[in-house]
Amino acid sequence: MARGPAATPNPTVAARDGMVLPAAGPGTGTPLAVRGLTVSYGENPAVFSVDADFPPAAMSAIVGPNGAGKSTFLKASLGVIPRLAGEVDVFGKPVEQARARIAYVPQRASVDWDFPTTVIDVVKMGLYREVGLLGRLSGARSTRAMRCLDRVGMADFAHRQIGQLSGGQQQRVFLARALAQDADLYLLDEPFAGVDAATERAIIDVLRDLKAEGRAIVAVHHDLSTVPAYFDHVFLINVRRIAEGPVATTFTPETLQATYGGRLAATHLDELAITGGA
């Protein structure tokens, strides 16, 4: 059944091993380790028995065709949608106990942008967890939110209604909100989908800074041509795990063929092989 070259024969055993490992101190441990993750709508699994390990201080891409379960994998790892089975560890702890170290950037199309809120208020949502129900969001925290907005080049837009933003600006605001969380693991769902070139550059700069600070970045990514330039680590998925490893060795025509089947034109593959090798 498992045709993926790296499919684990028995994910449950692997999961148990992962749990039994002596508790590592904070800051150590794989940023995101997934064992046997299965998500199913009805009887058709969207993600089936997937194992993955995303390395620290690196930028990782989750790559696969439409409907391959990329976003589902990310959301199920976070518990945003229920898992049928599987274990998810973040820095050596179950994901539920590591929330404070995770920042999530959802697809921008997932919200109603006519919602009555301003840009700075969205960024401050990244602080809700930290301040609790009644903690103050003014003063130092407000300054911090503003700095995050500045990092994505949106400080001038702080008091705009979010409905007035362009797609790229919306994406930057979501990234600023994640920055406000000051997390160690950043999970992004299609951060470059439908954004302008300037925004793509701004986002990649911020992500590189995060990586330089030792944080882990995992992004669902759809543009194969930019994978070698942007990412260190790649995880190829098509419902099942196809391959995983450093971009230099894993992002090859063979693994892409295995991921996309006949859907990827041969010329496109050649092009990528050249880019990847360069």
Binding site: K75, L78, G79, V80, E96, R99, I102, Y104, P106, S110, V111, D112, F115, P116, T117, T118, D121, V122, M125, Y128, R129, L133, L134, G153, M154, D156, Q161, S166, G168, R177, Q181, L187, D196, A198, T199
Partner: protein, 404 residues
Amino acid sequence: MAPLLDALLLQAGYNAALVAVGAALLGFAAGASGTFLFLRKRALVSDAVAHATLPGIALAFIVMVAMGGDGRSLVGLLAGSAITAWIGLLAIEAIVRHTRLAEDTAIGAVLGVFFGLGVVLLTVVQVMGSGRQAGLEGFLLGSTAGMLFQDAVIIALGGAVAVGLTWVFRRPMLLVAFDADYAAATGHDLRRIDLAMMGLVLAVTVIGLKLVGLILIVALLIIPPVTARFWTDRAMSMIWISGAMGALSGYLGAALSASAPALPTGPIIVLVAAGLFTASLLVAPGRGVLATLIRHRRFQHRVHRRQGLLALAAHHPIREGYTLRLLAREGLVRADGVATETGRAQAAKIARDERRWQVAREIHQDAGLTGRYDGLTPIEQVFTADEIAEFDRRLGPPKAVGAT
């Protein structure tokens, strides 16, 4: 007019004053706690919850009579209504979670079944010896005739608690309403937050049963937030504006209904709320119909002015009547469509600004600045004088319009 004025000034008798104050308090509580219900787009759930109070009212009456009371204790009736309303809410939740039915179907089913059961139980109460005088049907559309001081106290206390809890839980409720995935990813329990929100709504529904009635309470929960949305772009301010709108509706509605005999209070309150909504829809700045219309006309004006001037600069004929009229009104063209002195100067300026923008886009590739280019914002509002001078240096000397 005099009776209305008396009622507005709380001079129309003890009962009328009590009703007006109670309605204002209820309106405030409903408006404030309805804000997140509206933002979460779950208005109709509250309607089902309100209808699910009816069997509880009747059952509470039957139980209280069976235990030897007269069954008309308001606290007892409200407690009963809260219980079946909560069951109705959980039933909707369960249907949505465990079946493939959509929420609207679940709402329809629960609303119909619970209300039907309530009406049956109400008939049972009617045939009970002590039931005929109970006046339970007053809970359907509200009744103010026998309103007691104690009733107003219940509304005041319950409303204060509901508003207080809305304020305390404003952040999680806002987060869930705006971006549920993100809320879940940051460890918020969506189900508990949603239940808490519906719990608040349920509390307001229960305390409003006596005054507004279970059929119309949903209007008081939803219309004020929708009205408030016209006046603010921030959810946190919406809580208070919505509360104020609700309070105003309650107060004016109660006063109106007290100013003439036999005007039903609850429905009048709802109509006043609808009036405030309509007024806001029309005149609110920003999102109101008039403001939108004016903005659109101004935009159209700017587009046509620019097109017209660019056409003048390029010596293209202008055929559009609106453009010609507009330019003529500003003295930019003569009646025969030939450019005046001012018109030629303006045309030269706008053609030049177009070229400046081209240079600007080459120099400032950052979308933050050039993103503001729409051809309609004057370039002086975006760039400083020395920046524009730099563009001009790159452009070379100006060319006069008409010179070939």
